[in-house]
C-alpha cells in the first residue's frame, strides 16, 4: 500500500492583486489560497488512496503564518502535514524550495509516491517537481493526466503535443499532474472542522542540513500593460489610404 506525499504551495490569490497605473503591484490587501494545480495534486493523492489504500501526507515550505494553508490542504483529505517554515522562507525560488523539500523528505519521510502540481499558479516555473525528483534520485513523470498503480510500478499517461505517452516507472516516483486529471472536491464543513484536529509536523530551518541560497534573484515584478492607440478612419478611398499609412508608420505592415 503506497505511502503518498503531496506537495502544496500557499500563495497570493491573484484576484486580489491590484496594479497601479505605473504597473506596480499593490499587495497590501491580498488574500491567500492553495495553488490551483496543487489542489489537483492533493485530490489525486486522495483518490489513489481511496483506490489502493495506503497513506497520504501533505508537505509545504513557507512562512510561519501560512497555518491557514496547512489547514486548507488537510481539509482536502491528507491525514497529516509536514510544515517546513521559517520567517526567511519568503519568495523562495524553485531551486531553494526543491532543495529544502529534498533535504527534509530524504532524512525524515518514507514515501512511495510524491505528487506535485504541474507548476504553481503564481510563478508557474514548473521546476520544483522535476528538481525535487532529481535531488532525491527518483524517476519523475511530468504533465500526467491519468495515473494508476500496478504492483510496485506507476503507470501514467502523459500529455504530449500530438497524443498521449504511457509511461511506467518503479516506485518511488514523482509525478506532476495536469488540472485535467481530476476535479478537486470542495471541502465540506466536516472536512474543514476535522482538519484542525489532524497532526501537523512543524519543521524549522534548524532541521535542514545546510542552508540554501537563492540562485536567481527577481529584480521586479510589474503588471503587463497594453498600450492602445485608438484612431478612427472612415470608409472613403482617402481614409483607407490613411489607414494603410498609419499601419505602416506603426510597423504593422510594410
Amino acid at each position: 500500500m503506497p505511502e503518498i506525499l503531496c506537495c502544496f504551495k500557499w500563495l497570493i490569490d491573484e484576484s486580489y492583486i491590484r496594479a497601479s497605473s505605473s504597473g506596480e503591484l499593490d499587495l497590501e490587501t491580498v488574500d491567500y489560497k492553495l495553488s490551483n494545480y496543487d489542489r489537483n495534486a492533493i485530490e489525486e493523492s486522495v483518490r489513489l488512496q481511496e483506490e489502493y489504500g495506503g497513506t497520504v501526507s501533505a508537505i509545504t515550505v513557507g512562512l510561519p503564518d501560512s497555518t491557514k494553508g496547512v489547514k486548507d490542504a488537510l481539509s482536502r483529505g491528507p491525514e497529516k502535514a509536514y510544515f517546513i517554515n521559517d520567517d526567511s522562507f519568503e519568495n523562495l525560488e524553485p531551486s531553494q524550495t526543491a532543495a529544502i523539500l529534498a533535504d527534509i523528505i530524504s532524512s525524515q519521510i518514507n514515501y512511495d509516491l510524491i505528487i506535485c502540481g504541474e507548476g504553481s499558479s503564481d510563478l508557474y516555473a514548473q521546476q520544483v517537481g522535476p528538481r525535487l525528483a532529481e535531488k532525491l534520485g527518483i524517476p519523475c513523470i511530468s504533465y500526467i493526466q491519468k495515473v494508476q498503480i500496478e504492483g510496485d510500478r506507476i503507470v501514467a499517461e502523459k500529455k504530449v503535443e500530438d497524443g498521449i505517452e504511457v509511461i511506467s516507472a518503479p516506485m518511488p516516483v514523482l509525478l506532476t499532474v495536469l488540472p485535467d486529471i481530476n476535479t478537486p472536491r470542495i471541502p465540506g464543513l466536516k472536512d474543514t472542522l476535522g482538519a484542525s484536529k489532524k497532526p501537523v509536523i512543524n519543521i524549522s530551518k534548524d532541521d535542514l542540513t545546510v542552508s540554501y541560497e537563492a540562485k536567481i534573484h527577481t529584480n521586479a515584478i510589474i503588471a503587463a500593460s497594453m498600450e492602445r492607440n485608438c484612431q478612427k478612419f472612415g470608409s472613403e478611398t482617402e481614409d483607407i489610404a490613411n489607414l494603410a499609412r498609419a499601419l505602416a508608420k506603426e510597423g504593422v505592415i510594410k
Binding site: K68, K71, I186, P187, L189, K190
Partner: protein, 379 residues
C-alpha cells in the same frame, strides 16, 4: 477587541463560496424563473454537513458556532437568496427550537436526520389572520387521551411543501392569554395534515412556501415541545435565532448587488468612458460598500453575543432591520446602475431586487423589529 475571523471560519467561508459558485450560481436564475426547489443542491449541502451546522455532533450536527453559520448563510445567499433561506429556516426555525426546547427523547428522534439534511424542517406559525399579531392565531390543540388533536390553518409556511418535520403552534388554552399557546412537532404524513399548494412569490421563488392545514390532525402527546403554554416563548426565541440568519442573507444579497454593480459599471461605456468614472455611480457604490460593512458587523456581533451565551434579542432585531432595509435600498440602486438592462430577466440585479423585498417582511417585519428594539431601549 478582535475583528478577525478564525482561520477555520475563513476557510469555511471560502469553501461555501466555492460551493455556491460551483453548484448554485449555474442554476440560480432557472430555479427563480421556474420556482423549482433545488433538491439536488440541498442534497449536496447535506453531504457537506451544511444542514446542521450549529448543533452538537451527537445530534448529527457539526458543532460550529452561530457566527460561522451566519457567514455560511451570507455566502450561500450571495449566489441564491432562496437557497440560503431554505437552509436558514431549516436550521434556525426548525432544528433550533427542537434542540433548545425538546426533551432528550425528541432530540434523539428528530435532530439527527434533520441535522444531516436527510429530513427537511419547516416552521408553521403564521395564519391568514395572524401575522405580526401572533396572538390572533386560531389553531387549537385539544388533548384527548394520549393525543393532541390539531385544527386550524397555517399560511406562508416556509419549506412547507418539502418538509419532513414541522414545528407548529396552537392554543392549548385560549383563555390563558400568551401563556395558552403551545408548540408541537408534526411529522409529514400524519393523517389530518394537509400541505396546500405552493405560493407564487415575487422573490425567493425557489424557496417553497405553502399553507398547512390541520383537520383533526392527531399527534402523540409526546410531540409537545416544552411544556403547555411555552409556545409564545419558543416562537420568539426562534425568531431571535432566525433573524440573525435573515440578516446574513440580506448581507449576502447586498454583497451580490455590489459585486454586480462594480463589474457592470466598469465595463459599461457611456459618453466615451466607463460609468464607474461618474461621481454619482461612485458615491452609490461607496455607500453600498459602507453599509455592507456596517451590516456585516451588526450581524456578526449579534451572532457573537449568542455564541457568548449573552442576551441577543435586541441586537438580532437591529441586525435584521438594518440589513433588510439596506438590502432593499441598495438592490434598487444596483438596478439603477444597470439601467434598462437591470430591469430585464437575465441580469442578476433584477432577481436580487425582488429577493431583497422579503427580508423586510418575514421573520418579523421591519416595523416589528422596531417594536422589539424600542421595547428594549425604552424600558
Amino acid at each position: 477587541m478582535d475583528f478577525r475571523l478564525t482561520e477555520e471560519q475563513e476557510l469555511i467561508r471560502s469553501n461555501m463560496r466555492e460551493f455556491a459558485e460551483t453548484y448554485v450560481d449555474p442554476i440560480a436564475a432557472e430555479i427563480d424563473e421556474s420556482a423549482r426547489y433545488p433538491a439536488e443542491v440541498i442534497e449536496k449541502l447535506a453531504e457537506g454537513g451544511w444542514m446542521g451546522m450549529p448543533f452538537p455532533v451527537e445530534y448529527g450536527g457539526q458543532g460550529t458556532d452561530y457566527l460561522t453559520y451566519a457567514i455560511a448563510i451570507e455566502e450561500l445567499s450571495r449566489s441564491c437568496a432562496a437557497t440560503g433561506f431554505t437552509m436558514s429556516v431549516h436550521t434556525s426555525l426548525s432544528l433550533m427550537p427542537i434542540f433548545l426546547f425538546g426533551n432528550e427523547e425528541q432530540k434523539k428522534k428528530y435532530l439527527p436526520p434533520l441535522a444531516q439534511g436527510k429530513h427537511i424542517g419547516a416552521f408553521a406559525l403564521t395564519e391568514p389572520g395572524a401575522g405580526t399579531d401572533v396572538g390572533a392565531a386560531t389553531t387549537t390543540a385539544v388533548l384527548e387521551g394520549d393525543e393532541y388533536v390539531l385544527n386550524g390553518t397555517k399560511t406562508f409556511c416556509s419549506n412547507g411543501p418539502v418538509a419532513d418535520t414541522y414545528v407548529t403552534f396552537a392554543w392549548t388554552d385560549k383563555s390563558a392569554g400568551r401563556k395558552g399557546l403551545s408548540a408541537f412537532i408534526v411529522s409529514k404524513g400524519t393523517p389530518g395534515l394537509k400541505v396546500g399548494s405552493h405560493f407564487m412569490k415575487m422573490g425567493i421563488r425557489a424557496s417553497q412556501t405553502s399553507e398547512i392545514i390541520f383537520k383533526d390532525c392527531r399527534i402523540p402527546k409526546a410531540n409537545l415541545l416544552g411544556k403547555e403554554g411555552d409556545g409564545m416563548k419558543i416562537a420568539m426565541n426562534c425568531f431571535d435565532h432566525g433573524r440573525i440568519g435573515i440578516a446574513g442573507q440580506s448581507v449576502g444579497i447586498t454583497q451580490a448587488a455590489l459585486d454586480e454593480s462594480i463589474n457592470y459599471s466598469k465595463q459599461r461605456i457611456q459618453f466615451g468612458k466607463p460609468i464607474s468614472k461618474n461621481q454619482a455611480i461612485q458615491w452609490w457604490i461607496a455607500d453600498m460598500a459602507t453599509d455592507i460593512n456596517a451590516a456585516r458587523f451588526l450581524t456578526y456581533h449579534a451572532a457573537w453575543l449568542k455564541d457568548q451565551g449573552q442576551p441577543f434579542t435586541k441586537e438580532a432585531s437591529m441586525a435584521k432591520v438594518f440589513c433588510a432595509e439596506m438590502a432593499m435600498k441598495h438592490t434598487v440602486k444596483a438596478v439603477q446602475i444597470h439601467g434598462g438592462y437591470g430591469y430585464c430577466k437575465g441580469f442578476k440585479v433584477e432577481r436580487l431586487m425582488r429577493d431583497a423585498k422579503i427580508t423586510e417582511i418575514y421573520e418579523g417585519t421591519s416595523e416589528a423589529q422596531r417594536m422589539v428594539i424600542a421595547g428594549t431601549v425604552l424600558r
